[in-house]
Structure formats: C-alpha cells, structure tokens
C-alpha cells in the first residue's frame, strides 16, 4: 500500500501491466523520453525501451490508426492523446474503425486497445486544453467510455481497461492529477468496467457524478446534510458507457429524486442519457423532475470565465434544493 496521486497511480497500472504482459505497449506524443506532458508514462521508456514506449510523430490519426493495426495483430496498445481536445484529429479512426472491427469482421478481429486522454478544466489553460468530450465516445456503439474519480479508481480501472477485449476510451481529469493522494495497494487491483460505485448512502436524493465533478458532488452532499439535514446518496459513475442502469434505478427507486452533474455542455450530454435511463427504470418512484447541472451550451469560454461556466458546489446545491422542494 502506498499513498499515490492520480499520476503515479496511473503510472503504476501501466508499469505493472507492461511487466505482466509483453503485448502491452505505449504510444503517443512525448510519452517516451519526456514521460508524457503530465508524466503519466514517466520512466517507462527507461524500463521498457523505445520499441515498447513509442514517441510518435505528431499525428493523432496515425497514433490511433497504427495502434488499430497493432491490435489487429494481437498487441495491446495503450495510446495517449495529449489532450482530449486533439482527439478529433483521430476521431475517424476511433469511430470508423476501432469501434467497428469486431462487427465488420464478424468477430474475426477486434481492437483490444486503450485510448487515454486528459480532459476537463481547472488548469488555467488555453482552448482545447480544458474541454470535456465524453459524450461523443459514449454515443459510439462498440466503444467503452471510462472516467475514474481519483488515484485508486484510476489505477484499478486502467488495469481493467488494458485487459478489456474491446476498445476503451479512458478519460483522466486533469484537475485530479495532483488533487490529492490515496492509498493504492501494491498488488494489482481491478474494477469492473460498466459498474458504478456508491460513495455515500442516503434516502432523500441521489446525486450522480463522475471524474473531477465527484468531489464537488461530495461537498454538496455534505453541505446538504449539514445545513438541510438531507441524506444524499452519491453515485460515482466511473463508466459512462455501458451505463450501469441497475445501480442508477435502484438508487432513484429508493430516493425518488436525482441530480446529475457533469462538466460537459448540458445539451445531448451524458446527463440526458442518464436521466432517460432513470425515467425508464424508475418512473413510478420519481417525486420530482430530474435535474442536470452541467456546463452551459457554449464553446470554450477562456479560463478567466471557466468557473462561471462549469458546475460548482452552489449550483449543485441549488439544483438539489429545487428538486427536494418540488
């Protein structure tokens, strides 16, 4: 057991999986000598060499495209896209191919690969370095979409993602990279992809969050408890797709009220699918309309205005109170 931040925890997952399985390799921009711009691949180059930790030329489409080829051959590439804002350069490779090879070849081929990318705000960065785009990947059949909420879930989910026979898009909240340490066991740990995690039990209201928004939701839940005496059930989604509908409906079936929090813009975001799933599964238990707290439907606003755009504790609390007062 060691106390690790999320960067170190992810690094540990990569290191141990690479030691365990010679087919796992890492590819991306600056992932080798530099150890990645966020240092997630630190030291791997030294340990495993340039053949297994590939400093690629600057071309996302070719990073993903060649990784697909490697995966078709049986290797297990873990690709890093430097920022999620630059994954549109390889979106066609992900959507047209990684997600579809299993279907297209009728099971003869598949792409066991992970595409890691830092996403989300909170780092005072320029355009394309702070956005949240999980909804695009969650919408694509054939892909899995995972977002850990801290060091321990990050480590365990990355191991699961590497071992998953299907392509996994793995988002890492930049705001969480150095946001604190957690105990991470030395021995390899996994978490099932497709399963949410109950972070806090309660009977009055369900709050659903993931990634960097989980902390905010936790604070809101505590505040609602302290100031309003409200017992919040808090769900850490962990996997956006496939969505854990069972956990969601069981919780809202109990509480009758739901608030969903995400950093991506509101319209057509993950909140819409989550809300629809709850409606389908727990309609008769609902006591109030489901609320979504999300970024506004505007493109990147510049970091001077970022705080006003992305959800904060006060917005989550306000939405919860409206739901409770309905």
């Amino acid at each position: 057991m060691a106390k690790l931040n999320m960067v170190k925890a992810l690094n540990l997952a990569l290191l141990q999986e690479m030691e365990r399985d010679a087919d796992v390799l890492v590819i991306g921009e600056d992932v080798g000598v530099d150890g990645g711009v966020f240092r997630v691949t630190e030291d791997l180059h030294r340990k495993f060499g340039a053949k297994r930790v590939i400093d690629s030329p600057l071309a996302e489409a070719a990073i993903i495209g060649t990784s697909i080829g490697m995966a078709l051959y049986g290797l297990k590439p873990v690709c890093e896209i430097q920022f999620s804002g630059f994954a549109f350069q390889c979106f066609h490779q992900i959507e047209n191919h990684a997600a579809r090879y299993r279907m297209r070849s009728q099971g003869r081929f598949h792409c066991q690969m992970v595409v890691r990318m830092p996403y989300g705000g909170g780092v005072r960065a320029i355009e394309h370095h702070s956005e949240s785009e999980e909804q695009f990947y969650a919408h694509i059949p054939g892909l899995k979409m995972v977002i850990p909420s801290g060091p321990r879930t990050a480590r365990a989910l990355l191991v699961s993602a590497i071992r998953d026979p299907d392509p996994v898009i793995f988002f890492e909240a930049k705001a969480l990279y150095h946001a604190g340490r957690e105990d991470v066991p030395d021995e390899i740990e996994t978490l099932p992809i497709g399963r949410a995690r109950l972070v806090r039990e309660g009977s009055d209201l369900t709050i659903i969050a993931y990634g960097a928004m989980l902390r905010l939701a936790q604070e809101a839940a505590q505040l609602l408890h302290d100031e309003d005496g409200v017992a919040t059930e808090l769900i850490d989604l962990l996997t956006i797709s496939p969505l854990d509908r069972e956990t969601l409906t069981a919780s809202v079936g109990k509480t009758g009220r739901a608030v969903i929090v995400h950093e991506a813009p509101k319209s057509f975001g993950p909140g819409a699918e989550i809300a629809a799933s709850i409606m389908e599964g727990a309609f008769l238990s609902l006591e109030a309309p489901i609320r979504r707290v999300a970024a506004y439907d505007v493109p990147f606003v510049g970091f001077a205005r970022e705080k006003a755009n992305v959800p904060d504790v006060s917005r989550v609390v306000a939405a919860a109170r409206e739901t409770l007062a309905f």
Binding site: D30, D55, F86, I126, D297, V298, A304, A308
Partner: protein, 384 residues
C-alpha cells in the same frame, strides 16, 4: 520496357546571407532601406523583450501558459515583414512576434493568454486569423483564404505559420496538396525549431529537409537560415512576389531553434542538452542582426529601455482590462441566441444578481437588465 528514371530529381537550396558575426555575403544582400532595417530590428527586439516579460508574468500567475518565441524572431519578422496589410496572416500559437508586427496590441496578446477570449479578437480591418491551437489545423483555412482571394480577383496573398512537428499531421499534407492543385497565392512558413515539445526532428520525419515536402505537391520549397533575418526576408519576398504574380505556393523552411521552453509548462532539461542550447545561443538572431546594424551604424541608442516602457504601459492597460463579465460567454455562440441559451443566460444573470458569482468590476451593468434579443451584442471590443 526498361526501368527509367523519372522526374523529380531534385535539389533543395539552402539560403544564408548573414553569418553569426554579422558579416554578410554582399551578392545576396537584399535591398532593404535603412529605415526598414531599423524597424525590423525594433520588431525583433520588441518580440524578445515581450517574450521575456511574459515568462515573468506567467511565473507570477498573472497570465497562463504560453509558448515563447525566443530564438525565432528572425524567422517570424523576416517573413511577416514582406506582407502588405491587405494580405492575410495565419498564425499557429507561437507567433507573438509576427502578431505584434501585424498590429496586435500587446495588451490583447496578454489578455488572450490570461484566459480572456476577447484578447483573440482580430481588429475589424485586420486580415489575420486568431491563434489556432490544434497543430496544423489552420493550414487548410489558409489555403481556403488564398482560394477565395484568387476567386474574387483580389491581389491579396496568404502567409501561414506552423512548426516542424506540424508537418507530420494530415492537415499539413492535405493543405499543401490542395494548394498545389489549386495553384493558390500562399506562402507556407515552417519554423523548424528542431523540437516538437520533446520530440526532435529526426523522430518527426525521415526526410532530409522539410522544404522538400513541397516538391511532392508540385511547388517549390526552400530552406533558409531561420536565424538570419536577411535570408528569411529574401526568401519570403521572392515567395510573396511569386504568389502575387500568380505563380502559386511556396514552402519556406526556416531552420531555427527554440531557445526557451516549449511552453511555460515544459521542462526542456528532461530531453535536450545544455550544450545543444549553448550552440544555438551563439547563433542568436538578434546578436547577429545587431552586429550587422552596428557595422552600418543603424543601431538606436536606448531602444531596449523604450521598448520596455512600451511593454510596461501595455501591461497596465492589460490589467485594467482583465475583468471577466461572465455574461459575455453567450455573446458569440451564434449570430442569434437560440431559446435554450436565452434560458441559460437568464440563469447566469440570476447567479450574478444573487452574488453567487462575482459581478464584473463596476457593479451590475446595464447588460444585466437587457435581455439578449437579436444578433450579437457588443460584437467588437475595439474602440471605434
């Protein structure tokens, strides 16, 4: 039938005029008036001084991450200098120097890097695109601009900037291919500063030069000493004249060096040696050009202090302008605000009113009261 060699059999020219001591090859010396030489040097020095000031501002937390230009002043100024105001300049994210030359006020550049999008708004009469962050993605836009200029019969040409790493992206190749096929008036300026963050040129391409990539697309490429402002100027002028004469695109590879960090978030000691950096410090474009000007008696006394004062005054204006009214985030999403954004904007008004978020300095403005109706409000932030 036998195997026969086909075209192209090619050579790529390398152009250098000034050596690192400021001596020059007089047969190659471009004709530039003494006044223009002084303006060029002033622009390069302003670029350098602002860059250094920006690094300090970033370290103090007054602006965010940015990409310094230190070492690349000659590549930027020697090329942009050959444009007319009616020509188009398409930057990537490391063209502070070229932007200054094109008339971007220092305070706007600072605002941009302090997280204010209004800092990225080109002036109404400026033919510059805003900073583009995704590598190489601006290049097809530049080709489109050139096509449009040609389509309209304007004599404007386009100059587009990018780095060595950008030449690996698909957008680079697609843009050059279109430019060649369409034979449009464009000059591609590649600032080959040897590094794309931690990736050296030899890991970026197996080509001997970047300039030769133009040949594959059917137009000329030339490699120049990018730390020699006279060489960059000479090659750029030639390319601009070709473009304007309807002779199509050119690719100029400026061989230069990023003397500083990739961005202020980068630590270059992890991937390159001090010796390499020192080697390039000896080829500093400013030292070389000032030695040349010295010989011609064209160096201005006290220029550095003057420029520093200019920068200091701009920093003050920037700090006064750095006030984030959150409502402006709805201003430029669409030409007309759709109903769902009217609702979201209304929510923001309520948040500002209830002081859940800080109102902009000066208290609530009239904008809070007036519902957004048609069109963009306050489209321009430039004084009229």
């Amino acid at each position: 039938m036998p195997r026969v060699p086909l075209e192209p059999r090619f050579t790529i020219e390398y152009l250098s005029v000034l050596d690192s001591d400021g001596n020059l090859d007089t047969t190659l010396e471009p004709q530039i008036s003494p006044d223009d030489l002084k303006r060029l040097y002033r622009a390069m020095l302003l670029g350098r001084r602002l860059d250094e000031r920006m690094v300090r501002l970033q370290r103090q937390g007054r602006i965010g991450t940015f990409a310094p230009i230190k070492g690349q002043e000659a590549s930027q100024m020697g090329s942009v200098f050959t444009l007319r105001p009616t020509d188009w300049m398409v930057p990537s994210f490391r063209e502070t120097g070229a932007m200054l030359w094109r008339g971007w006020p220092i305070e706007k550049i600072l605002l941009f890097f302090a997280g204010y999008l209004e800092g990225g708004q080109p002036a109404p009469d400026h033919h510059d695109l805003p900073i583009t962050v995704p590598v190489a993605t601006q290049l097809p836009h530049a080709v489109g601009l050139a096509y449009a200029a040609q389509y309209r019969g304007d004599d404007a040409i386009v100059m587009a900037y990018f780095g060595d790493g950008a030449t690996s992206e698909g957008d680079f190749h697609e843009a050059l291919n279109f430019a060649g096929v369409w034979h449009v008036p464009i000059v591609f300026v590649c600032q080959n500063n040897q590094w794309a963050i931690s990736v050296p040129l030899k890991k970026q391409t197996h080509s001997r030069t970047l300039a030769q990539k133009a040949l594959a697309y059917g137009f000329p490429g030339i490699q120049v000493d990018g730390n020699d402002v006279l060489a960059v100027y000479a090659a750029s002028r030639e390319a601009v004249e070709r473009a304007r004469a309807g002779d199509g695109p050119t690719l100029i590879e400026c061989v230069t060096y990023r003397l500083g960090v990739h961005t202020t978030a980068d630590d270059p000691t992890r991937y390159r040696s001090d010796e390499e950096v020192k080697e390039w410090v000896r080829k500093d474009p400013l030292t070389r050009f000032s030695a040349y000007l010295q010989k011609r008696n064209l160096l201005e006394e006290g220029l550095e202090e003057k420029l520093d004062d200019e920068i200091a005054a701009a920093v003050k204006r920037f700090e006064a302008a750095a006030v984030a009214d959150p409502l402006t985030m709805f201003d430029h999403v669409y030409a007309e605000l759709p109903p769902h954004l009217v609702t979201q904007r209304e929510e923001m008004v309520q948040r500002v009113r209830s002081r859940v978020i800080e109102p902009p300095a000066g208290g609530e403005t009239e904008q809070l009261e007036s519902p957004p109706l048609r069109g963009q409000r306050r489209t321009s932030r430039w004084p009229s």
